[in-house]
């Protein structure tokens, strides 16, 4: 009886302890989300979404250029990273061990740990110094960050597809590449999509590599060879400016970015549950 009571008390203490720790972890998060929501919502209006920024110091205008830029950067990055990432993953998981494959894996793992600023410097020295700031340069830097994520999750997903499935495909009299592209990829699709979405969520929020590649642009762009703005860039520039109106816009941009990333993460959750 006494024993049981002590146990019950220990159990209670443990629960309370967990709850307190949890609060430490979650309160700042709630605070950040709450502040962004409260402050950001004040900046949000139709104009905020559809018009270009006013010159520094003037009130009004919007961040349509940054929204456009983020979409362009994401689209360019993904249209490059998805095929490269998936093909690399196929090479790693479906073909025989050899020195080249080990080299590819080593490279991919090394890139996976690359700090984002290094990816930016890399793109800067390789592209910007020759061709100037551009969306392409930004997308290149972001691809360095996105590809390893896609490679890794796709490779994991492909490896989870049982050998039986590949053998069954081959036994139908199909060539190996057809079995891979039509059957194995299909079986691994949920895992591959999850990896793509995670990579997307990551690059959407990257600022450092864009500072000296995409650079920023107060106008809409007409080609991927021009510098572009992006949500994280506006947040950085506006938040560090001396103008209160820009501070508010930075909160607004942060809110939009947060909602975008949240939407992507929810998509991942949904995918994983299925």
């Amino acid at each position: 009886m006494e024993m049981a009571k002590t146990k019950l008390i220990k159990d209670k203490i443990f629960t309370i302890y967990c709850f307190i720790s949890l609060s430490f972890a979650i309160l700042p998060l709630i605070h950040i989300v709450g502040t962004t929501l409260v402050r950001g919502i004040k900046a949000v209006s139709l104009e905020f979404f559809i018009s270009l920024p006013k010159p520094p110091g003037e009130v009004g205008g919007g961040i349509a250029n940054a929204i456009e830029g983020s979409i362009i950067l994401a689209a360019l990055t993904m249209s490059f990273s998805i095929p490269v990432g998936i093909l690399t993953a196929i090479y790693l998981s479906e073909y025989q061990d050899n020195w080249f494959r080990n080299l590819v894996r080593l490279l991919s793992d090394t890139f996976a740990g690359t700090p984002s600023i290094v990816a930016g410097v890399f793109a800067y020295s390789l592209i910007v110094r020759k061709f100037g700031f551009s969306a392409i340069a930004g997308a290149f830097a972001l691809s360095i960050l996105a590809i390893p994520t896609i490679v890794r999750s796709s490779e994991e997903a492909l490896k989870l597809v049982p050998i039986d499935v590949r053998e069954a495909g081959l036994s139908l009299g199909a060539e190996k590449w057809k079995v891979i592209t039509k059957i194995v990829i299909r079986a691994a699709r949920p895992g591959i999509i999850t990896g793509i979405l995670l990579a997307l969520a990551r690059i959407m929020g990257e600022t450092a590599p864009l500072l000296f590649t995409a650079f920023g642009n107060p106008e809409f762009v007409r080609s991927p060879f021009e510098p572009v703005s992006a949500l994280p860039l506006v947040i950085y520039v506006y938040a560090t400016s001396p103008y209160p109106d820009w501070h508010q816009k930075a909160w607004g941009a942060a809110l939009i970015l947060m909602l975008m990333v949240l939407a992507i993460n929810l998509a991942v959750k949904y995918k994983l549950r299925r």
Binding site: S171, G173, A174, K178, P190
Partner: protein, 252 residues
Amino acid sequence: MPSDEKIAIRNLSAWYGDFQALKNINMVIRDRSITAIIGPSGCGKSTFIRCINRLHELKRGAKVEGEVILDGRDVYKMDPVEVRSRMGMVFQRPNPFPNMSIYENVAIGLKLRGIKDKEYIDKVVRESLQKAALWEEVRDKLHELGTNLSGGQQQRLCIARAIATNPEVLLLDEPASALDPISTSKIEDLLVSLKKEYTIVIVTHNMQQAARIGDYTAFFLNGELIEYGKTTQVFENPRDRRTEEYITGRFG
């Protein structure tokens, strides 16, 4: 040799690395018949049928020697893709393709061969599922996932998938090992009806099954073919003492 010879196996040996799993197998598989392969676990039954459609060589360190002659041509001198397109295989564990509907599972073999005619594919899917005795159970849910079917249904789906491309030879590796008696007997009935069109080789652990449906029976032991003949002869009048011991359950 009688003209009903479909596959002739000559001096077939197979290895996994240094381990020899098949030792100099010689046998003739007859057209439009069921040949049952029996023998204790690990004796090389799966390895044997995987040598016939050239799946064995895909395993790491695997090696094959000898000939497997299909209609007069050695499959080891043919394009493996052609060899496999003339043979269907059903695996020990049901393995429908993930994230594919029942319909797509059956249709994929045709699609991979570049066939696009929707009406023709529809017809083949229906006929294959009918032959596999699955049609009535799935006709209203063709577009649901194949992996959502029960184990027995999945195995019949795999049989439908294997026959949809109209192969000449059907290789089955213990297709009924994980099935209940009702599914098992459905599959047995199916095989007996399919032998009018196909040459069937079936690995089985189940002696009664071999006796029920096998026209011929081959008994393997430690990678060697110990006895091969008409099923009635092998079961009623085995020539080798080890065959008799295995069949009567007095083995090992």
